[in-house]
């Protein structure tokens, strides 16, 4: 028993050393928490700022969409029949009476086709550009494709 006490006393740390260790450990935990909290705050602040930017951009997109519609309509008003006719009159143009109209044949002239405002679905779909496989395939798909081509080349060489 005495031996044990002696042994314990021999290797026991001084009380101030224990306190120091505790304080050190506590400080380490505190600093770690502060570090993590700091990083978290920084990241979340950045995320919030980006979030605000996104919200602002979403609003801007809405405004731009409305502006596009407005401009399109304003252009249509400027090009409307009444406005065009009024401008033509102002510039000195007059409607031609039927009896003064002469049909003039212009070689090579082809009548304008009705308007196409967007790609025609029937014509576009068959010739739609196909994305290269690199953009869509997974790594596993790529490996399998290359393995397949290698084995095909080998079989050709054997023949």
């Amino acid at each position: 028993m005495n031996h044990l006490e002696t042994f314990a006393q021999t290797y026991a740390q001084a009380p101030w050393r224990k306190q120091l260790q505790l304080i050190g450990l506590f400080s380490l935990v505190l600093v770690s928490i502060a570090l993590v909290a700091g990083i978290y705050l920084n990241v979340s602040a950045k995320a919030s700022a980006v979030g605000r930017d996104i919200q602002a951009m979403q609003r801007e997109t809405e405004i731009l969409d409305r502006d596009i519609e407005d401009l399109q309509s304003q252009l249509a008003i400027v090009l409307s029949y009444d406005d065009m006719e009024a401008r033509a009159h102002k510039l000195g143009f007059e409607p031609v009476p039927a009896e003064q109209t002469v049909y003039l044949n212009i070689p090579g002239y082809t009548a304008r086709p009705p308007v196409t405002l967007a790609p025609n679905i029937q014509r576009t779909l068959p010739s739609a550009p196909v994305l290269p496989a690199q953009y869509t395939e997974s790594l596993f798909d790529w490996a399998r494709r290359n393995m397949g081509s290698i084995s095909f080349s080998l079989s050709e060489v054997r023949q």
Partner: protein
């Protein structure tokens, strides 16, 4: 201080600190367990953390066949009040009544609403234009500068007045093609015309999403595809010219109304459809004033009438096709014929003697055509009329199409005499679009095309061109060509006012008495003309209808000249060379291998 006392104090403080979190935990537990509490808090928290946003896609646009915008969108504003911030409802009501022309009492009532959980916001006006909003915002700013910080209950204040932008409909051409387009109400619902017929397609699908206010929870607002846009077959220039011609024809003849339909017989494309009254679609709220009770929005598709002698071309086409008569068949007109116990007379009550079929059409002889119908027999006559689409919807891409009425043997109200009267367009009701479609079969070698208003649909970035549809082949090509020739000759022989220098056209006038509840007792008539040209290669078909003309009751006097004026415009706008030039150009090209 004894150690015991100190220990007690420490224990008390410790217990207090322990109880507080315990109480918090208990409260949290209580809220979690009590569904009413948790639900209430959830709703409240959602109300503060996010808001409901209704995404209304931009309504699809309407274009004419050349891409001219006929219906677009523009920014308009909804003006309302946030009730909890309202300080002076009188000022708000007075302001919106003055600037936005809304009812003061109504605005005051709405602005005076007591804010509550269910009453948060009230709409005062919608579809307000930017110019008015500019005036409003200047006033809000001025009032805020002048009276902010002031004290007193009766200080003028526009606090709580807000405006929210959204898209509303605009029609850049105002009244042009208004009867075809229809209009869109404040609730974004289409009424009449294309707007109503394709309302769902044009409006797209509205989506409601919850948008978080917390920037950390910001989400991508889902893409709501815009409504599909439509390219119409209408030609803006032709439409405008036809509307001007309808207006002048109605004014000159003193008619109650007028209608002109212009179609391409080979495709069924409607190039113009002019009628009256018309309205500035940007002021759709005036609809009730412009179209009083029972006034159709578009007479060309919604008003069936007894077409009169223009109908004779269908009777003759049927008889020629069935072989009941030939162009050379001679009918001796004695001035009257009895069918089903009813005596039928000619328009001038005269007897025209021996007439071949060209003469019958040229002089528009009721007696002859009634006889032709008897030669055909009721079964074949009505079978042909149904094949021509009389009494059926044409399926034109417009809302509110009327079916018209064709009585047939077996119907309770059909009598044997009807065969005779129907033969010259009496006792049968058809819309102008039905008559034009039926006549297009004769102009187009016996093939009847569906009248088409929508040429293409633009959806998700692609244009889908709608195929033209054949809706019937009521007569053989040779019958159609023969009748076309007969009608051209009869116009030429008659030196009709419908003739156009340089172009050979086929056509037929029509004068129909208007039935009253007591029979054909009125002197008023419907004057019509249907014609197409050039006869050997028809590029257009025109149907003219003048309702109750006053200057003359006869179609040959009031409607035929309108047809000529229409064709004079059409040949220029459609680049159709005079027949002589066209034949020279065709022969110089030589036969195609």
């Amino acid at each position: 201080m004894s150690q015991k006392e100190t220990t007690w104090r420490y224990s008390f403080v410790g217990a207090l600190f322990a109880i507080l979190p315990l109480l918090i935990v208990l409260q949290v537990f209580r809220i979690q367990v009590d569904p009413r509490q948790s639900e209430k808090i959830m709703i409240e928290s959602q109300g503060w953390s996010s808001f409901k946003k209704t995404i209304q896609p931009a309504r699809g646009l309407l274009y004419d066949r050349w891409g001219n915008l006929l219906a677009g969108n523009r920014t308009v504003y909804e003006v309302g009040v946030e009730l909890q911030f309202v300080e002076n409802p009188q000022t708000i009501a007075q302001t919106v009544a003055t600037i936005l022309d809304v009812d003061y009492a109504d605005a005051y009532t709405r602005a005076s609403l007591e804010p509550s959980d269910t009453a948060v916001y009230a709409v005062l006006a919608d579809n307000v234009l930017q110019a008015d909003i500019d005036k409003l915002s200047v006033l809000i700013e001025q009032m805020s500068d002048a009276y902010s910080g002031g004290k007193g209950d009766n200080l003028p204040s526009l606090r709580g007045l807000v405006y929210t932008p959204h898209l509303g409909r605009i029609y850049p051409e105002k009244t042009l093609a208004s009867n075809i387009l229809g209009f869109v109400s404040r609730e974004n619902r289409g009424y009449f015309g294309v707007e109503e017929r394709f309302n769902e397609l044009l409006a797209g699908k509205t989506k409601t999403v919850l948008v978080p206010l917390d920037p950390n929870r910001v989400q991508e607002i889902p893409e709501v595809p815009a409504g599909a846009s439509l390219v119409l077959t209408i030609d803006r220039e032709i439409q405008r010219e036809m509307e001007a011609l309808v207006d002048s024809a109605v004014a000159e003849s003193g008619s109650a109304s007028g209608t002109i339909v212009v179609m391409r017989p080979q495709t069924g494309e409607v190039l113009a459809l002019a009628t009256m009254p018309r309205m500035d679609l940007n002021e759709f709220w005036r609809y009730g004033d412009i179209y009083p009770k029972d006034t159709p929005f578009n007479r060309a598709v919604s008003q069936a009438y007894e077409p009169g002698s223009v109908y004779k071309i269908l009777t003759m086409a049927s008889a020629l096709d069935a072989g009941a008569v030939t162009p050379e068949t001679v009918f001796v007109d004695t001035g009257q014929i009895e069918i089903g116990g009813t005596l039928i007379y000619n328009w001038n009550m005269g007897a025209w003697g021996p007439q071949d079929m060209t003469g019958c059409l040229q002089h528009s002889l009721n007696v002859c055509l009634a006889w032709v119908a008897t030669q055909l027999g009721p079964n074949d006559f009505y079978r042909y009329m149904q094949a021509f689409g009389i009494g059926h919807l044409t399926g034109v891409d417009l809302a509110g199409e009327a079916t018209g009425r064709l009585k047939a043997p077996g119907d309770n109200d059909w009598y044997a005499a009807d065969l005779g009267t129907n033969a010259f367009g009496q006792g049968v009701a058809a819309t102008p679009i039905q008559m034009a479609t039926a006549a297009s079969a004769i102009a187009n070698g016996g093939v009847m095309m569906a009248p088409q208003i929508v040429r293409s649909v633009i959806n998700s970035g692609y244009q889908h061109n709608i195929d033209q549809r054949v809706i019937g082949m009521p007569i053989k090509p040779e019958t159609a060509n023969t009748l076309s020739e007969i009608l051209a000759v009869s116009l030429e022989t008659e030196s009709s006012d419908a003739l156009i220098e340089g172009y050979r056209v086929s056509g037929k006038t029509g004068t129909a008495e208007i039935p009253t509840p007591f029979g054909y007792t009125s002197n008023a008539t419907n004057a019509s003309f249907v014609g197409w040209g050039p006869t050997d290669d028809p590029q257009f078909l025109v149907y003219v209808w003048l309702e109750k003309p006053q200057s003359s009751v006869w179609g040959s006097i009031v409607a035929a000249p309108v047809f000529r004026r229409v064709v004079e415009k059409l040949v220029v706008l459609l680049n159709i060379p005079p027949d002589a030039v066209r034949h020279r150009l065709t022969s110089s090209k030589g036969p195609q291998q």
